[in-house]
Symmetry: C2
Subunit: 252 residues, 2 copies
């Protein structure tokens, strides 16, 4: 006596309906079916298209609004944002994953290396490992248009047993590789600070010793709240800006 349609069961296994609507619309936006500034189908139309209720459709659109991909205008419709290119990173993991993926496609890497080593104190702390634990470390210089923009090091616990080689890492960033290898990424803590280029970094980034660098440290957690990756990056301040868009969620 369930109210589920018995005819179509192919899709819809596991993931909630609103997530499916969300992914579909998001893909429309990213693959260009709906270009920046264009109007999406109305909520009612989306309901019909996907065979879901308005609540479900709105929940999917809520996520896209939170991510800054679309804006809603009462009486007019829902529109893809104009400046999709540099959409800001909000407090959203999905957004970070996409941004990292695009970064991986638009940039290249140099001086890459992968080693297994004993974790230092700070890495142990961030990854909740006992002192002396072993980690896989991957590091590289990231290039934009052939010029270095930053130096990135990532640390993954050795016991996680996901191995990477240089070819994989050249193709796509660690965060995306982890996802593809079945790690259920759920959240992350990011701390942004500033630092100076020391001799080694200055050489790698082709800048002067003492140049200002934006330091980004990121600890990624899976759905069981276990840390799965630590990332430490230093970006050239002139080349890399961290952009955040803040919006009020309550009226008045």
């Amino acid at each position: 006596m369930s109210s589920q349609p018995e005819g179509s069961v192919d899709l819809a296994l596991r993931s909630p309906r609103y997530a499916q609507v969300y992914s579909a619309v998001r893909d429309w936006i990213y693959n260009g079916s709906y270009k920046p500034g264009s109007r999406l189908p109305t909520e009612s139309e989306l309901c019909e298209l996907f065979g879901v209720s308005r609540i479900t459709t709105r929940k999917a659109l809520d996520i896209l609004v939170d991510e800054g991909l679309v804006v809603r205008q009462p009486g007019r419709g829902t529109f893809v944002v104009e400046d999709l290119a540099d959409a800001p990173v909000l407090g959203d993991m999905e957004q970070l994953l996409l941004k990292v993926e695009r970064l991986g496609k638009n940039t290249s890497v140099a001086s890459a290396e992968v080693t297994e080593m004993e974790a230092d104190a700070e890495t142990c702390k961030d990854l909740a490992l006992p002192p002396g634990s072993r980690v896989q470390r991957a590091s590289h210089v990231r290039l934009l248009n052939g010029r270095p923009i930053g130096y990135v090091s990532t640390f993954v616990p050795a016991q996680l047993d996901v191995r990477f080689d240089l070819n994989e890492l050249n193709a796509s960033p660690m965060l995306n590789l982890l996802e593809r290898k079945g790690v259920d990424i759920a959240s992350a803590d990011q701390v942004i600070s500033a630092t100076l280029a020391d001799a080694r970094l200055a050489t790698l980034l082709d800048t002067a010793v003492g140049a200002p660098l934006l330091q980004v440290r990121l600890v990624v957690f899976d759905t069981k709240r276990q840390p799965v990756e630590r990332l430490v990056a230093a970006y050239l301040a002139e080349q890399y800006h961290h952009h955040v868009h803040l919006t009020r969620k309550t009226p008045r």
Copy 2:
């Protein structure tokens, strides 16, 4: 034939019900009625308390979750987060306003000055003003425990006609003053970068020339999408970290 209760009309004018529930619960958290880690009333209880439906209660809680003030655990309840003190800034204006307000209470200012001046090119651009427009500029060194942590300059268009004096600015940050003077703050764009201390900043911040600084630039917009304030700040990298917590909004 409206379905509104005719008995109680005291409150509830204008702002949506979910916003009222949101404010009430948020106040419970901030004034200590519900301490970090404690469990909030269940959704059903909140529905009864405020006389609203589950949808309304959940929408209010959704906002608090987005802001990182509470976490939900199926089967257990909704809990105030443990580390309320340094709750991260997500992409939320409300959060920024609260954070700024707390900053104003826990810190002090020095070397403050207020002047009216001609806006430089960058300020004109950010505030969408014609070249040569006049702005009110306020700047000060912000101190934590008596030690400088950053230098902050704010610019407000002169034609906005909200005047500030030093006493007001010593008492609370510009952003809160604007709110209180009736400016409807709606959104902001924040760009974070890194820079070095020049001679003037080094003296003001009691550090060495060339010390790494975290540079924060903020442009605040009102509900009509007009820029109302520009802020440029430089914080000592050791003293000030920008913390962002990222969460996945779609399951799987």
